[in-house]
Amino acid sequence: MQYIPNILFAILLFVGVGFFVKNIQKLIRNIKLGKDIDRTDNRSARWKNMANIALGQSKMVKRPVSGFLHVIVYVGFIIINIEVLEIIIDGLFGTHRVFQNLLGDTFYGFLIGFFEILALLVFVAVTIFWIRRNVIKIKRFWNKEMKGWPKSDGNNILYFEMVLMSLFLIMNATDTHFQQLGIGNVVSQYLAPIFSNFSESILHIIERSAWWIHIAGIFVFLNYLYYSKHLHILLAFPNTFYANLKPKGQFPLNATVTSEVKMMLDPNADPFAAPPEGASEEVPEKFGASDVTDLNWVQLMNAYTCTECGRCTSVCPANQTGKELSPRAIMMKTRDRLEEVGKNIDANGTFKDDNKQLLNNYITPEELWACTSCNACVEECPVNIDPLSIIMDMRQYLVMEQSAAPAELNNMMTNIENNGAPWPYNQMDRLNWKDE
């Protein structure tokens, strides 16, 4: 009988982690639906980016208030997890505060005291986050893509963190032995008087409940990640590692086009020549992207990494002037469609055509044509997401597969074809300015 809590804990741990691993496998499978792209060059620069941007939060603090608060929550999250290790060992082996004996009272007290201060700071920071979202109503949290689930998702995460931090402190405050020892109860000693009227057995029950709900809450939160925007706590690291290192103005070359263009420009090429022996006769690759599977896996990982903070949208010139385009919505819609494709595969084994695609069903041409390719969104993203690359791939599809550019752009392109300038001026007049 005495092992029942240990067994229960083991089951909780197994189910919690097992379900999470299953979802992560699904996540990886979905990301791999994207096209291949080589981002393994220049590893030292990539590690450096990850260290500075993800680990070091260098782009977060460009906005000092939210950046500073975020650093508190981030540091708190990582460090308080050391405590989770103790909880897991205690839970599995029926020990109580196993690290206390292992580390000695002084060091253990120092650690727990540090965790308590962090827990309080995280609680305060998260409360301010909640106020920024719901009371001050900072504009970027109220754009139209933030209605419904995205809005409640944002708040759910804050509630989760508030509750988890409170449970951690209550757990310590109601641990009579820990309070009597007087080591590390830096914050919880001020909570302990609230419980001073309770009998020891009731206190024990509260302490045990807080302990169980705290660890169970952590497992629930872990599994909430996959369904939430909160995946960034994991994906920020690979996302910054695999991010584009080239100048932001350099858009990728479409190599499929290159061979065709070379043939067109080669005066010796015989357009009627039979394809060389062994050349594949498959249908030429589709130009650009109309669905998530036309995007590359980094772009799909970007979509899962996005935590919907909206910094991109708040700096987007199109969005600020009331256009439909919102770079955050581009990422959210890409993820929604990818999830839909993933569920389709789960249900049917392979993807079964659902007469839907990312273009039109999720992202409209109006959004795509509003982009000025200014790179403000790319520059701003705290985890190096690149919404612009998706916009450009989709424009390429619109123009090259559907000839669906706005009429004025078709005129511009016709001019370039005919006279080598976007306006209808004769190429022979190109040097006239020198004599004007």
């Binding site: 350099q250 700096v315 002037t321 000025t372 390719s373 200014c374 599809y397 090259m400 306006w423």
Partner: protein, 259 residues
């Protein structure tokens, strides 16, 4: 103006120090042609040996690529590369950040390996080498704000060359609240120059001009013919033509010297 072409140079058996890539705006747009001429005057004064492609120049392909027409972009790029390789061009300078970005970043993969400089970088290098001197002249003491072109700034991380040049003019450089990495686009990039904006509440160029007006400048300096057009339009919309001028940095340097 005496502006030699690469063909003329080649006929004389000469190779210029640098090819001046004029660009479509610089060749055809009335406002941008003034920038072209100002830059030529400065190069002549600094005794830079340069040439242009003239009628052999064609659109760099930037607006086609940003509009999504990769095919047209590569056609343009490859024919331009062919022409420039034929003339054994090594170094290119251009007053258009879009041409600069495209030739510098997107031509190499198609066989066009050139050293490409934006005109502000080039002028800065002339200054550093002592081949060019810049004096305040008529701009002395004026308040000037610099609008960062996206394709120079964020796209290629060039923020200081234009500012270093402006500062040489004995002026007061005031920064807009959104500048450098945070600079707001003028609204012309990504082929927007050639179409009407999508439905919205406001024009981007007006939003950006308001940023500039906020710091009450005498001059809005730019380094891009398209930004120049947009900011000029913005100043007109805000009815500030009498108090605010929009000038390219090359024009300012040339005007200061009464070139």
């Amino acid at each position: 103006m005496n502006v030699p072409t690469m063909a003329e140079m080649m006929a004389q058996g000469k190779q210029p120090e640098v090819l001046f890539w004029v660009g479509c705006a610089g060749s055809f747009d009335d406002r941008a042609k003034k920038i072209t001429k100002a830059f030529v005057k400065i190069m002549q004064k600094a005794k830079v040996s340069f040439a242009v492609l003239g009628t052999e120049e064609s659109c760099s392909g930037d607006p086609a690529k940003r509009a999504g027409n990769e095919f047209l972009f590569q056609m343009q790029a490859m024919s331009n590369i062919e022409v420039m390789n034929m003339y054994e061009v090594k170094k290119i300078v251009t007053a258009c950040p879009h041409c600069f970005n495209t030739i510098n970043n997107e031509y190499p993969q198609l066989g066009g390996d050139f050293e490409v400089m934006h005109h502000t970088q080039f002028l800065k290098s002339l200054l550093d080498e002592g081949r060019l001197t810049i004096e305040g002249g008529k701009f002395k003491g004026k308040r000037i704000t610099f609008h960062d072109p996206c394709y120079l700034g964020r796209a290629n991380n060039i923020y200081e060359a234009p500012r270093d040049l402006i500062k040489k003019l004995d002026i007061e450089l005031v920064e807009m609240k959104r500048c450098k990495t945070n600079g707001l686009c003028c609204g012309a990039g990504g082929a927007q120059m050639f179409k009407d904006a999508e439905k919205g509440e406001k024009e981007i160029f007006v939003e950006r001009t308001e940023d500039a007006i906020e710091v009450t400048p005498d001059i809005i300096a730019t380094g891009c013919p398209f930004c120049n057009t947009m900011m000029t339009d913005g100043v007109k919309v805000k009815e500030k033509e009498s108090s605010i001028q929009v000038l390219d940095i090359a024009e300012m340097i040339a005007n200061a010297d009464d070139l």
